[in-house]
């Protein structure tokens, strides 16, 4: 019986192999990525003609060149990353590329291995979420491939804080300040004319991640500036994971341990933490005492779509297209040989940065305003 099974498998395999061998092996076309890599003097910044969400043309007709193979690589499964993958697929026919999505499931070593595997498989460009835990090594491996790449979300900086990889993301400190300022400006809408000295801050962080840490720092500093004598609490997700459960556990512990606090501001550096916090507040029956906001809008807008009207009242809205469009347009320009890591978005470059951190536009939205925002972004995305 065993021999028959094996014989059948071998026969199938042989047939398949022979059939596959019969196919003509496609000759790899010369890749503009390799041949047109500009080496001369400083290049003009072609991205200057971008629209409000970062869509621009490299000047090369996408239909006139080969279809680029682009790898979208990220560290862990999250709604935002899957949405970016979906947005890339929607943009494929517009810019003539094919996307391969890769999730490392939290294993940075596996991500490095797979970047090397993709590099050996005629990939033309990478969009990568470079995890801060091994940013230097990931950059080194990407540089060794000689394939254009753009970082998404997490900036990569040297010891002096200078950006060394072109990156599309949001400036963490400013984002943190913005969400806290919004809570301060709007709390009377929800709580009426309360004594502001009774408000405490529950500030979420994930300290190993520079960008999340920046959001935390921005929120903390702004709160201390607005309400200097009020209580502050830090909920650092480092003891758990980047997930809702960690957000829930931290919030329920801190909120329950401080019954003397009458009102809470909760600015979350990550949507999943805000979601966990919301569920904890609901469980504790404290919805009229807590105002939650966060950086990112995928989960909350989905909840609003389903009729949610709780204490998670607002978010710093970032459409997935706002990440995706500048990232893929920049990468295509590099693959077309019309931009380099140096020239790309150079007119936006902050002082002291070696490469540009593309700080995407964002604004605070509520359940009454988010649809207008998303519709506006959609109309300018090139789709």
């Amino acid at each position: 019986m065993m021999k028959k099974v094996l014989a059948l498998l071998i026969a199938l395999c042989t047939v398949f192999t022979l059939a596959a061998c019969n196919r003509e092996t496609p000759t790899p076309s010369p890749s503009p990525t390799q041949s047109a890599q500009p080496t001369g003097p400083a290049m003009e910044d072609i991205s200057k003609n971008e629209n409000s969400i970062g869509f621009f043309s490299s000047g090369v007709d996408p239909a006139s060149r080969k279809t680029y193979n682009v790898v979208w690589a990220y560290m862990r499964p999250m709604a935002l990353f899957q949405n970016i993958a979906d947005a890339l697929v929607r943009l494929e026919p517009v810019l003539n590329f094919k996307t391969t999505s890769y999730c490392a499931n939290g294993d940075i070593d596996a991500m490095i291995q797979n970047i090397q595997i993709y590099a050996s498989q005629n990939v033309d460009g990478f969009l990568v979420v470079i995890d801060p835990t091994a940013a230097d090594r990931v950059k080194e491996v990407l540089d060794e491939t000689n394939i254009p790449y753009i970082a998404m979300l997490n900036s990569v900086r040297d010891e002096n804080g200078s950006a060394i990889v072109p990156c599309v993301g949001i400036e963490g400190v400013i984002a943190g300040e913005k969400v806290t300022q919004w809570l301060y400006d709007n709390y009377k809408t929800y709580w009426g004319d309360i004594d502001p000295s009774e408000i405490a801050l529950l500030d979420y962080n994930f300290s190993p991640n520079v960008d999340f840490n920046d959001r935390y720092t921005g929120a903390m500093n702004k709160f201390k500036e607005l309400l200097p004598n009020n209580k502050v609490f830090t909920a650092d997700g480092v003891s758990g994971k980047l997930d809702e459960q960690t957000g829930y556990d931290l919030a329920s512990a801190i909120l329950a341990a401080n019954p003397d606090v009458k009102y809470w501001f909760v600015p979350a550096c990550l949507e999943l933490y805000a979601q966990g916090c919301t569920r904890a507040v609901e469980t504790l029956g404290m919805e009229d005492k807590v105002l939650i906001t966060c950086v990112g809008s995928d989960i909350l807008t989905a909840e609003w779509d389903n009729g949610y009207e709780g204490c998670w009242v607002s978010c710093l809205a970032i459409s997935d297209l706002q990440y995706t469009v500048p990232g893929i347009c920049g990468l295509v320009a590099m693959m077309d040989g019309k931009a380099t890591a140096d020239s790309l978005w150079s007119y936006r470059r902050a002082e002291g940065d070696q490469k540009t951190f593309y700080n995407i536009l964002n604004e605070m939205v509520t359940k009454d305003t988010y649809k207008d925002f998303l519709a506006r972004v959609q109309s300018e995305s090139g789709l």
């Binding site: 065993m2 398949f16 940075i108 070593d109 091994a134 090594r137 190993p208």
Partner: protein
């Protein structure tokens, strides 16, 4: 001739066929037949390195009738200790490295102590030591932060390539599995492991010391886990908070796939090597073909089930033949 016959009847033969099928399939299906290119074969071997170290320790313990679920966490803690020593003290690299390995040994001995002296189930003892004590220890050592490694020797150990092609870590892992394979197959110590795993009571009556063996194997597993964690950090050039935490389970999977029985007393290092090669070749092939990551997980599970089914069918056939011969005799 007899050896060849034995091989054809063994689980190793089934695994070899499975490996050939997988390689042939992905070679034929890969763009430009690039699956068997030198660079991609190196990629496959490179992706096996850490799992190989964990698998060696696990294989020895499982053959001896035990199991260790802590080495992944021990690896993270040891890597963190090495990184912290490098960053915060003026001690030379080899001292930091040895301290990391020593920490792995200590955790291994704690596991052995809990299992042998306090009578804990190995499953519970090692999971507790790993996922709570070692994990927490790692966080304390690096204070919840990521610490970059700047020592050139350590970085070379993790990322260096011999002759500019083969990663040093690949050579190291292949050497280790070869050495452990010889120890297991050709030495008295190796035979002691099989005997204790097959029937510890009989082994004790035969004058062997299963308790002493347990201490040695748990310490060995801890040290190999520590080495894996150190290599992980050296590869990434940073002390990492999650490090190798999730590496032990896939290593156990490869060991079982490689023919090591959870009941103890059977299996060999060559089978483990094939198990590792099958899993990593398969995952690499899926990546090369651009299969989405979510489907990769499903496909890996199906492969494992297929391999275990083939193994079960082969074992059942062997048992039937044995029974028939006994009846005939």
């Amino acid at each position: 001739m007899e050896t060849l016959k034995k091989y054809f009847k063994s689980n190793t033969f089934t695994l070899t066929i499975l490996l050939i099928l997988i390689v042939a399939f992905f070679w034929a299906a890969s763009p430009g037949r690039s699956y068997l290119s030198l660079i991609n074969v190196t990629n496959i071997l490179n992706s096996m390195v850490l799992f190989t170290l964990f698998a060696i320790g696990e294989a020895l313990l499982i053959i001896s009738g035990s199991v260790d679920l802590s080495p992944g966490y021990i690896g993270t803690a040891s890597g963190a200790l090495m990184t912290a020593v490098l960053a915060n003290t003026g001690l030379p690299w080899f001292v930091a490295l040895l301290l990391g390995l020593a920490l792995g040994c200590v955790f291994g001995l704690i596991n052995a102590l809990l299992v042998n002296e306090l009578g804990f189930q190995a499953f519970i003892a090692t999971l507790t030591v790993g996922s709570f004590v070692a994990k927490g220890f790692a966080y304390i050592l690096v204070d919840g932060k990521v610490i970059p490694i700047k020592n050139r020797v350590i970085v070379w150990i993790g990322t260096g390539r011999l002759f500019g092609i083969v990663p040093f870590t690949v050579i190291l892992s292949l050497l280790l599995i070869l050495i452990y394979g010889i120890i297991l197959a050709k030495t008295v110590f190796g035979r002691t492991i099989y005997l204790c795993g097959g029937n510890s009571q009989a082994a004790r009556l035969a004058g062997l010391n299963p308790r002493r063996l347990s201490y040695i194997l748990f310490a060995n597993s801890g040290v190999l886990g520590a080495l894996a964690g150190i290599l992980y950090d050296a590869r990434l050039k940073s002390g990492n908070l999650d490090g190798t935490n999730n590496y032990a389970f896939p290593a156990v999977t490869a060991v079982i796939l490689g023919g090591v029985s959870f009941g103890g007393g059977t299996g060999n290092m060559f089978g483990c090597f094939l198990g590792l090669l099958i899993i990593n070749s398969f995952n690499n092939g899926l990546t090369v073909m651009g299969v989405t990551p979510y489907w990769q997980s499903v496909a890996s599970g199906v492969l494992l089930l297929l391999a275990l089914t083939l193994d079960y069918l082969a074992n059942r056939r062997t048992k039937r033949i044995k029974v028939r011969r006994t009846v005939e005799a």
